[in-house]
């Protein structure tokens, strides 16, 4: 087998040739071994350490939320003009991060972008965990969480329906639909790989658990046919959701009357920003996972470079949106609108605005340079910078618009409390806990799909050799 692989290598000098998606001399078995041993092997000590830390942070999140529920939203820094602050900032931030997963899974799948196969499983998992983190905020930021179920259209004795005109209500549907579909999509993709783990199981417990979750998968032609169609349908359903969920989240702002929120540019701008931040987060996680799990041959420099290019594009879109907002504020002639943007750039929150601008618009421009685009330390650094910048984007939109709106007498300033900060930090703990569980118990790479890519790669190589 090794000889075959060597023989079929594409000559490097061909400039039109795409680099290999799977590097090294790989076979189906070697791929299975590489991915499955991560799950099956002895749990490394570092995993335990990381898990313990993450669980502690998650527990702190729990206690912060408990404190919030028992005391009131006043434990956060939210105030009169700034009714939403870190709560909704963090919600949009996490939802945005959750964007890349479905984009990679669904849209790139439909566009036959084969390079997605190495990263889609982890990206989808990341989506789910990010949505879980995001969902905490709209739930807990309300004053009376024990009544929050009223946001759902449930037929109960009050005979009251929610207000379907409220964008917040649309949010409920958009986010819950997105979460559900993403979960299904991820799970359907997992079935063949779970069956592989079941078949390789050495203990009874593993066999039973993986057996249950693999839903009796036997790998028959009939199974594969149904599977491919189901996957395609789910990809089709997910694709509009990628665009809709963040568009609807942006409606929370765009539909309001507040200068700085009330803009039609928000839906595309938010989606681009979400993809931008989502890819940055995937990048951060993949670089760590790739190094920790020795998956360099599956997640290659080619993958990383493509992702960097996407960040460059979406970062530029976001930069365009920032500029266009200023143009529109000036062009509209609306004094409130003009003031809001002037205030963003030069008011009390100017520091936040320029942090955002530097991180999101200036820094991704470095990816024009191939050297930087392919430097792992640099891209790791930049992916974190972009995530910080994208957090600030949401903060700038929410807080700076609210803190000074129509009536100057009501202007104020928002300062976070330690509870704000610890709650946000805690969501990272939750995210990491879930992610660590994921890499320990589920194949981090979509084995079945990677194998298909390998087959294609080899087939192509054979084809070339024949001519």
């Amino acid at each position: 087998m090794q000889a075959v692989a060597n023989e079929f290598k594409i000559p490097k000098e061909n400039p039109l040739a795409k680099p290999l998606l799977i590097e090294g001399e790989q076979t189906y078995n070697s791929l299975t071994e590489a991915v499955a041993t991560v799950v099956e092997g002895k749990t490394p000590r570092n995993w335990y350490i990381a898990f313990a830390v993450s669980v502690c942070i998650t527990a702190m999140l729990g206690s912060m939320l408990g404190y919030l529920v028992l005391t009131g939203v006043g434990v956060w820094g939210n105030n009169q003009p700034v009714g939403w602050a870190w709560d909704i900032t963090n919600f949009v931030f996490w939802i945005g991060i959750g964007h890349a997963g479905t984009l990679i899974s669904a849209i790139l799948f439909l566009f036959r972008q084969k390079w997605r196969t190495s990263i889609n499983r982890a990206a989808e998992a990341m989506t789910l965990f990010a949505v879980a983190c995001a969902a905490i905020y709209p739930g807990f930021h309300v004053g009376r969480i024990w009544m929050a179920y009223w946001l759902f259209p449930l037929p109960y004795n009050q005979g009251m329906w929610p207000n379907f005109r409220s964008p917040l209500e649309w949010d409920v549907f958009a986010v819950s639909t997105y979460g559900t579909v993403s979960l299904l999509f991820w799970y359907v993709g997992l079935i063949p790989d779970l069956a592989t783990l079941r078949d390789r199981a050495t203990t009874k417990a593993r066999q039973v658990v993986y057996g249950i979750f693999s839903l009796g998968w036997r790998g028959s032609n009939r199974h594969w046919q149904h599977y491919e169609i189901a996957y395609l349908i789910l990809a089709g359903i997910s694709t509009p959701l990628v665009l809709s969920v963040h568009s609807i989240v942006s409606f929370d702002f765009a539909v309001s009357k507040l200068p700085g929120w009330h803009t039609t540019i928000f839906p595309p701008y938010f989606v681009a920003g979400a993809v931008f931040s989502g890819f940055a987060m995937v990048m951060t996680l993949m670089l760590v996972a790739r190094w920790a799990l020795n998956l360099q041959h599956l997640i290659t420099m080619y993958h990383l470079e493509v992702m960097n290019k996407i960040m460059l594009v979406t970062g530029s879109i976001v930069g365009y949106a920032y500029t266009m907002e200023f143009f529109m504020a000036w062009y509209s002639g609306n004094m409130y609108e003009k003031f809001t943007f002037y205030n963003r750039a030069f008011g009390p929150y100017a520091w936040a605005y320029w942090t955002m601008f530097t991180c999101n618009v200036v820094s991704p421009q470095c990816f024009w340079f191939k050297k930087l685009r392919t430097s792992i330390p640099f891209m790791f650094f930049l992916s974190i910078v972009i995530n910080i910048g994208m957090w600030f984007e949401r903060f700038v939109i929410i807080a700076t618009s609210l803190h000074r709106d129509f009536i100057p007498s009501s202007w104020g300033y928002f300062r976070p409390t330690p509870v704000d900060m610890l709650t946000f930090f805690g969501t990272f703990g939750l995210f990491m806990t879930l992610f660590l569980l994921f890499i320990r118990f589920v194949p981090v790479i979509a084995l079945a799909e990677v194998k298909a890519v390998l087959a294609q790669q080899q087939h192509k190589a054979q084809g070339h050799a024949k001519h």
């Binding site: 009131g72 939203v73 946001l151 005109r165 709106d405 009536i407 104020g412």
Partner: protein, 1077 residues
């Protein structure tokens, strides 16, 4: 105060459950049903049912025990037997402050006083009240009020005190009262006077002293100087066309400001009622239609129009109709109708904010200004030249003197010069001299409450000197807190220590109580009988609404018992006294019912002004020098410090500075810049060797080289609120960093030779900073058309100027509104910015009516204050986009021409309410009467509504503000208004409970229509300026509809297509061309 002392509240119960749980009740059960008692714990059987029923009856009877047994008479005319449980009653009584009585109607819900309102029949109220009167009800229920008689630190009771005091008084009586002294605050009560006379006859050597930290001394001394007798000066602002206010905050802190605002606003309103050409234009898309206008005229005669609006310009058609036969007055030129106010002052007061022209001048130079003005006007008196020299070189003042002198002389008989209480006597006297030539009907003099004039200062000085000389054996302090607020140089505390028997009567165990041997807990004015006189002398009866909660005693009772007066209960004292002059029970009942005795006002006197005496006083008075000046002013919230434990007053923002829970060194921007000071810088003030630390707060437009500090802060012995440290506020108030008090005690700098202002104060930066909570620190309106303002001349040329920014807007709504706003009652409000002075009474009234909690300083700093109505204050010649408040960029504006505007801001009840669209659970929805309603029970608290509210008038319960509410405070809550839990949004409802009550009443009375004026929200009710008018905008004859038709009417943020139901009437300034910048 130690926590152990706060247990006594448990003696009041409010529910059956609570009563059933008390040991007293268990005892009661055991005694009555010894066999059945054990059955109580088991299931409900017949016997238990009967027991509970009996307990219910017992409870019903017991609640009545809180009602005083003396016959009190509700204002509605119903007597106790006719009371319907759950239906509130109003009782007329009086609120005494500064020696003047203000008539009030107090609402009683099943025996609990819950809300103070103005008494329309009372001359000192005319339906309005001050914010102090509004807040006084909180003092009644204050859990920190003194609850027992004390001897030293030991709790005693009244009988113990009487037992101890009787031999002492007998001994003193034997010595003709030698060594016996009384120290009281100013009080106009005839009953108290009767007791004083009794004491004077039985103990001729006893002496009565009077001390108020904030007093009318200077005005009385000035009158004494000018007329040879201490007459009271009354300004008839309803007759004055030109008013010159010299350091006079007659619309703000003056004790009779309620009535001043009432009268001033009448003159402010005349000549401004111009109807819009097209009343539907721009502002009322759903509003009145053309065809309704005829109907409006037709029905005008049937509807009662408040008196001050009867002067609306006659319309063309009304001539032939001739409503009620009043002849149509000939139209006068408008510019002669609206008054003109000139203000010359050091501090920026609300009066200065209302002024058409304002000159900032050090208080010490005001006398000079008046002297120069007198010269210019041709008034002659000695010493004018000497004093006028003080303002030589001040070009602006020179320009002013020419213009104002001309204006005053041109309006003889309709002009008035008003001098503030802080100006020395000779300035008051000089003003009296000028008024003698220009005033005419605008000034009235009546005799003073006291027959013989003795200044407060002389009085307390005399007491201190005698005490130091060992001449005082027994001192009775009847209210007041001289240990805290006596002039610092008198060392009152030390002098008091030399008095053998020190007896204190007070609502609180305060600084003075702590220094006395005996403290008697005083009854609140709503707990006892009394009387008083209004500013004009009208005798008024004070009736209690509730028996003393803590068995307190009134000053009348204390004096009667100690002096051996014929009656010892305050009811008997007052009734016996008044029966003598009233003649019968019927007249007495009427007086109690009305709260006043008609036609008892003092007759006006016309004393001759003694120019010679004034001249020699001016000659003798020193001319002010130069240097940094310090002004001691009465605080808009604390008065003299007595409201320190009143959370409403601590949290109501100062009308100009918007500070809460603090006082500060107020300083102009230019002086602060010159001294390198910025907001919140801590400075050390040094005056005559006395020092005080205070933070700085810049008040633009304050006089140069002058600072102002408010009195009344820095209390050391007060309740939990005033101390700023307690279970509720302990954590909330940790930003109190200096002296462990709220604000700084400026009395420590105030000496007997510098009671009002002094030159030569030193100001040194300490380098530290003190966080100050201000609810509104932005000066500029940012060029936004929020408060729309024009000069009177421009208004006459372009009456619809206020609508200009809204012209040419085309608005489309995506949603069809479910309600037709042309049917039935459609509630709306109009707020006249031309008459609103920003006195804050509405803010406190709303707080009282709607059970609005206070949040504490730290949460105000976080921007979580809960007021449903707020007073927005802007300075009008400040450049927009002042990011420089932090001090980053230099910016220039002219503080000499600075003006201020006030805008009451509350829920605007938008027809297309942005809050409603975004609420995901439909907790805030519209009703068919145009109210933007709020279902607290449905609210989950997403705060989206508040974010989308362009006016930011919604208030969120970030925490449980009602936690730890004492049992007494619970009694104060208005049962008609839901107490909001944490996590829900709340806001102004136009007092929907009052709307409902009126609708119920109308339904009961045969489904009749609701009459205009039948519903008055708390803010409108209390407004001394009648600036807030509420009513049915669907009724073209209603007052509010007529206001909405005026040319000055406009809506805020109309471009958002929200169509607010609250509209504003634009502000006007009657400027003098010669003074325009």
């Amino acid at each position: 105060m130690k926590p152990t002392e706060q247990k006594t509240e448990q003696q009041y119960w409010r529910s059956l459950d609570q009563l059933a749980g008390t040991p007293e009740y268990r005892q009661f059960v055991e005694r009555e049903f010894p066999v059945g008692a054990s059955e109580m714990a088991s299931e409900v059987d017949r016997r238990k049912f009967l027991i509970l029923a009996a307990a219910g009856i017992g409870l019903a009877g017991l609640t009545a025990c809180r009602r005083p047994i003396e016959k009190i008479i509700p204002a509605g005319g119903k007597v106790a037997e006719q009371l319907v449980p759950g239906v509130a009653q109003q009782y007329a009584t009086i609120y005494n402050l500064g020696g003047q009585a203000q008539g009030v109607l107090v609402r009683s819900n099943d025996g609990r006083p819950t809300k103070v309102e103005g008494n329309p029949a009372h001359p000192a109220s005319l339906g309005a009240t001050s914010s102090y009167a509004q807040a006084s009800i909180l003092d009644l229920y204050d859990p920190d009020r003194s609850k027992s008689v004390k001897q030293g630190k030991d709790n005693k009771n009244w009988d113990d005190f009487v037992k101890a005091a009787t031999p002492l008084m007998a001994e003193l009586k034997g010595k003709q009262g030698e060594g016996l002294r009384f120290l009281a605050e100013a009080n106009s009560s005839p009953a108290l006077r009767e007791l004083r006379n009794h004491i004077a006859t039985t103990m001729p050597n006893a002496k009565w002293h009077t001390y108020d930290a904030v007093s009318q001394d200077n005005a009385l001394a000035g009158a004494n100087l000018a007329f040879g007798q201490p007459v009271h000066v009354h300004y008839a602002f309803d007759k004055a066309d030109v008013v010159l206010a010299l350091d006079a905050d007659f619309l703000g802190s003056d004790i009779d400001s309620t009535i001043n605002i009432k009268n001033f606003s009448k003159k402010r309103r005349t000549g401004t009622d111009i109807e819009a050409k097209d009343s539907g234009h721009g502002s009322t898309p759903h509003g009145e239609e053309k065809k309704d206008e005829h109907k409006a005229e037709a029905s005008q005669a049937q509807h009662a129009v408040p008196a001050q609006h009867a002067a609306e310009p006659a319309k063309a058609e009304s001539g032939k109709e001739g409503p009620k036969g009043t002849p149509t007055p000939a139209p006068e030129p408008v510019s002669n109708k609206m008054n003109r106010l000139y203000a010359v002052e050091s501090n920026f007061t609300v009066t200065g904010g209302m002024a058409d022209h304002r000159l900032r001048l050090q208080s010490s130079k005001i006398g000079g200004f008046l002297a120069a003005l007198a010269k210019e006007m041709g008034v002659t008196a000695g010493g004018l030249d000497k004093h006028a020299g003080a303002i030589n070189g001040n070009q602006l003042a020179g320009k002013w003197i020419k213009a104002v002198a001309k204006d005053l002389n041109a309006n003889k008989g309709r002009a008035v010069v008003v001098v503030g209480a802080r100006q020395p006597a000779h300035v008051h006297a000089l003003a009296a001299l000028i008024n003698a030539s220009v005033a005419g009907e605008t000034v009235k003099y009546t005799r003073a409450f006291e027959d013989k004039f003795e200044s407060n200062l002389a009085s307390i000085k005399g007491l201190v000197d005698d005490a130091n000389a060992g001449k005082v054996n027994t001192l009775l302090i009847l209210g007041g807190n001289p240990v805290y607020n006596a002039p610092a140089d008198l060392k009152f505390r030390e002098a008091l220590g030399k008095v053998q028997n020190r007896i204190h009567l007070g609502l609180y165990q305060d600084e003075t109580a702590a220094e006395c041997n005996w403290h008697v807990n005083e009854a609140h004015y709503l707990e006892c009988w009394g009387d008083g006189r209004a500013y004009d002398g009208t005798a008024s009866i004070q009736q209690p609404l509730i028996a003393p909660l803590h068995n307190g005693k009134s000053a009348l009772e204390l004096l009667a018992v100690l002096s051996g007066y014929a009656q010892t209960s305050d009811y008997e004292i007052v009734k016996t006294l008044w029966l003598k002059s009233l003649g019968g029970e019927k007249a007495w009942n009427k007086a109690v019912h009305d709260g006043l005795l008609a036609n008892t006002a003092f007759a006006a006197v016309t004393p001759a002004v003694n120019a010679g005496a004034i001249g020699s006083a001016l000659d003798a008075a020193p001319v002010a020098g130069n240097g940094l000046e310090i002004n001691f002013v009465q605080d808009a919230s604390m008065y003299d410090g007595r409201f320190a434990n009143n959370g409403w007053m601590q949290e109501v923002p100062d009308p100009m500075t918007k500070l809460v829970w603090d006082n500060a060194v107020l300083i102009s921007k230019d002086t602060a810049d010159a001294k390198g000071l910025k907001n919140e810088d801590m400075v050390k003030l040094t005056l005559k060797g006395r020092e005080l630390l205070l933070p700085v707060w810049i008040l633009p437009g304050h006089a140069k080289d002058s600072i102002t500090v408010a009195l009344g802060y820095g209390r050391t012995v007060t309740g939990r609120v005033g101390n700023g440290f307690n279970e509720k506020f302990g954590k909330l108030m940790d930003t109190i960093s200096f002296g462990n008090t709220i604000g700084g005690n400026t009395y420590l700098l105030r000496t007997s030779d510098a009671m009002d202002f002094a030159l030569g104060v030193e100001l040194a930066k300490t380098g530290e900073a003190h966080k100050i909570a201000a609810t509104h620190d932005h000066w500029s309106m940012e060029g936004r058309p929020l408060v729309r303002e024009a000069t009177l001349d421009d208004f006459i040329k372009t009456p619809e100027f206020a609508k200009a920014p809204d012209a040419g807007l085309h608005m489309i709504s995506a949603f069809e509104h479910p309600y037709d706003f042309k049917q039935g009652n459609q509630w709306g409000m109009a707020i006249d910015l031309n008459t609103c002075v920003g006195c804050n009474a509405c803010v406190v009234a709303c707080q009282s009516e709607n059970n609005i909690p206070i949040v504490g300083k730290d949460h105000v700093l976080r921007g979580r204050e809960m007021h449903w109505i707020r007073m927005d204050r802007y300075f009008t010649n400040v450049p927009a986009t002042e990011f420089e408040v932090g001090g980053a960029k230099p910016w220039v504006f002219d503080e000499d021409y600075m003006q201020a505007v006030q805008q009451p801001m509350t829920c605007q009840q938008c027809e297309h309410a942005p809050c409603e669209e975004v609420c995901p659970v439909a907790a805030t929805v519209h009703n068919e009467e145009g109210l933007n309603t709020m279902a607290y029970n449905r609210c989950v608290g997403t705060r989206y509504c508040s974010n989308n509210c362009p006016f930011k008038v919604r208030r969120f319960n970030y925490l449980n503000w009602h936690k730890d509410m004492s049992e007494t405070e619970k009694m104060m809550q208005n049962p008609e208004v839901t107490v909001r839990m944490r996590g829900v949004m709340e806001k102004c409802t136009y007092c929907t409970q009052r709307i409902s009550a009126a609708k119920h009443q109308a339904k009961v009375e045969g489904h009749r229509a609701i009459r205009d004026g039948e519903i008055t929200p708390a803010c409108a009710q209390v407004c001394p300026a009648d600036a807030i008018v509420f009513g049915n905008i669907n009724d073209p004859a209603s007052h509010v509809s007529k206001l909405r038709k005026q040319a000055r009417n406009y809506q805020l943020l109309v471009e958002l297509n929200i169509n607010p139901r609250t509209t504003y009437l634009a502000k006007l300034r009657n400027t003098n061309k010669e003074l325009e910048a």
